[in-house]
């Protein structure tokens, strides 16, 4: 009966309740969708960071990452690569030599990050071969082939088979240079990455630098994202003199960003719920104040304080739950739809920040669950003040007003 009374009381003011109902539905939808969008964006970013840039973990000589000093070599790099390849969870291992170099064409000079790779290993770890849009993956050119991005090709006005010159410092600090022939153009959709990286064969680069079989960088791709930290930890113990870092510690701010994302949904939805809280409190307060006589009468005939309190709480929860499921359903529907079809942002500037321009919103079931709990808590919170107001009523005074 208390539910019946609550339910019918809500519809005593159709417009007022409908406004609250719509506000809750839209508010939740906006909150959930925004966070799903950001989640999706982050997941894609993480995916691309792992696939393209960092792999799951990397090994260097301590200090190498800061300045890419040619001297900081891992002399037994090949052995390490062999050893890690044995690991069951490992999909691929790429041993690289890496340095900053000057790239010169007839039109332009600029600095790039020069990656000397073993083409077969690299194709497994980063799949850069699949990102080729023109030319071939280290085929068709015998001497000193180089892979550059389409972006660099446009900037430096070079084409397939064009010649470019790479200038860098060798082990002794001498300036050395080599002529390379463009064999393929890649496009990873990540503008920042594309403008920075070029790839040559490790042997060609080792000859120029005089580093022999040593490596600067070992990148490891695993079968699962969530193994990254424990694996990195394990190999840090195996190679205590080297620096073994999982992907989230390889790029600055990444770990913080990920940890923030975990709470992001709840922060956004929390803010929206607080705003909704006030509109619900306001509505319920009006509902209590306009029913002073009725509530006074009920207390007079013997309705206990607990029951009066419950009556207001139930009414508030009913009011809230009218909108909440719709909002959550709307979110679920739209997130599922756009989660498979994607949202195309066009050629927005996001691409240059390392974000993909088609976003697939996603949200975990856990998030829906936590948000639902938050809504319930909010409804109870919203009920407390109006309910206390109702309890403060003195039946005699309320009755006197009759």
């Amino acid at each position: 009966m208390i539910f019946k009374v609550a339910w019918r009381n809500i519809w005593r003011h159709k417009v007022r309740s409908t406004v609250v109902f719509i506000a809750i539905a839209l508010g939740l939808w906006a909150g959930l969708f925004t966070s799903a969008f950001t989640h999706g964006m982050m997941n894609q970013k993480i995916d691309s960071v792992i696939k393209m840039e960092m792999s799951h973990f990397q090994i260097h000589k301590p200090g190498f990452r800061e300045e890419l000093q040619v001297k900081l070599l891992m002399n037994d790099g090949e052995n390490i690569v062999q050893a890690i390849q044995e690991e069951k969870e490992v999909i691929g291992v790429s041993g690289r030599i890496v340095t900053m170099a000057m790239l010169g064409s007839a039109n332009k000079n600029g600095s790039v990050r020069l990656n000397g790779i073993n083409p077969d290993d690299e194709s497994i770890v980063t799949g850069i071969n699949e990102k080729l849009v023109e030319g071939e993956y280290f085929r068709g050119v015998e001497r000193n082939p180089i892979l550059i991005s389409r972006k660099i090709a446009e900037k430096y006005k070079v084409k397939i088979k064009s010649k470019v010159v790479l200038t860098m410092q060798d082990m002794e600090g001498n300036i050395v240079a080599g002529a390379f022939k463009v064999v393929g153009l890649f496009d990873t959709q990540n503008g920042m990455y594309d403008e920075l990286n070029v790839f040559v064969r490790r042997d060609d680069m080792a000859r120029l630098l005089g580093v022999g079989n040593s490596l600067h960088e070992i990148a490891v791709l695993l079968g699962r994202h969530d193994m990254a930290e424990s694996m990195a930890d394990k190999y840090q113990h195996v190679y205590p003199k080297l620096e073994v870092l999982p992907w989230m510690d390889l790029s600055t701010g990444m770990r913080m960003m990920i940890e923030m994302m975990d709470t992001y949904t709840f922060i956004i939805v929390g803010i929206i719920l607080v705003a909704l809280l006030f509109s619900i409190v306001n509505t319920m307060l009006m509902a209590v104040l306009e029913r002073v006589k009725e509530i006074g009468m009920l207390m007079s005939i013997g309705m206990s304080k607990t029951r009066v309190f419950m009556m207001i709480v139930v009414e508030t929860i009913c009011l809230t739950f009218l909108g909440a499921p719709l909002g959550i359903l709307l979110s679920y529907g739209s997130i599922s739809y756009f989660g498979t079809h994607g949202i195309n942002l066009g050629d927005a500037a996001y691409a240059d920040m390392g974000f993909s321009n088609v976003i697939y919103p996603s949200l975990e079931y856990m998030d829906y669950l936590v948000v639902s709990m938050m809504v319930i808590i909010m409804a109870v919170l919203a009920a407390i003040y109006p309910a206390i107001k109702a309890l403060r009523l003195k039946p005699v005074e309320a009755i006197r007003k009759i």
Binding site: M1, K4, V5, R8, N9, R12, K293, E294, M297, L298, M299, S300, I301, G302, M303, S304, K305, R307, P395, V396, I399, R400, I402
Partner: protein
């Protein structure tokens, strides 16, 4: 048997000029009475009934309902006491607007945790007694003032109270509806032995009462038995 007893009951409303709304009232009401409290406006009728009904606390003096002293009950005990022992009919706003006549009468039994089966049977019988068997599913807004008061009487009786208190139950009714309500109350008193204590201004209602207690400035100035039926 004494249902209600007041001893030196007083209520003073403090203010710039303190008002002695009820002044040293000694009164006792027996089972099966049909008693009217009358007196000019401001004479203290509502204040007296509110104290007897456990809605208001006296400044001094004692009220006993069925030998239980109301002053000794806490706020929550008093609420429970009202629920179990007293039926109320107010001048207006007696009913919950969103519930039907039947549901309104049933509500007080729900508060008493009476099982649904018994509630329905009793409510239907009571609404029949007040002549509303064909209006049971109407909401208060779909009932006339007199019909609403009859639902209120049914609701008051639903809880099987020791007595029914009614403060000016006919004040908002036309004379025919007032007459009709009084007929019903009178019949319930005679046939079911329900004790009624009501206040009124209306001379025709006063004439129907068996016992008439007249108040002036918070004091009882006369207390007469008019007739025996």
């Amino acid at each position: 048997m004494k249902v209600i007893e007041t001893i030196n009951l007083s209520k003073i409303f403090e203010g710039v000029v303190p008002v002695h709304a009820v002044n040293q009232v000694n009164l006792s009401i027996e089972d099966n009475e049909f008693t009217a409290i009358v007196g000019p406006s401001g004479s203290g009728k509502t204040t007296l009934l509110n104290m007897i009904g456990g809605l208001d606390r006296p400044t001094s003096g004692t009220i006993k309902v069925n030998q239980i002293a109301l002053n000794e009950l806490s706020e929550n005990e008093l609420i429970n006491f009202r629920l179990k022992h007293i039926g109320f009919v107010f001048q207006s706003y007696n009913l919950i607007p969103v519930l039907s006549a039947k549901e309104n009468a049933e509500f007080v039994m729900l508060l008493q945790n009476i099982p649904a089966k018994d509630r329905i049977a009793r409510v239907e019988a009571l609404l029949k007694e007040v002549g509303l068997e064909d209006k049971m599913n109407n909401r208060p807004s779909q009932l006339s003032g007199g019909q609403q008061q009859r639902v209120a009487v049914a609701r008051a009786l639903a809880s099987k109270p020791d007595f029914v208190l009614a403060d000016e139950p006919t004040a908002n009714l036309d004379s025919k509806s007032a007459e009709n309500l009084l007929d019903i109350m009178h019949r319930l008193n005679k046939e079911e032995g329900i004790t009624f204590v009501f206040s009124t201004h209306d001379q025709r209602v006063i004439d129907r009462a068996r016992r008439v207690i007249t108040l002036e400035d918070g004091k009882i100035i006369s207390d007469v038995i008019q007739h025996e039926n």
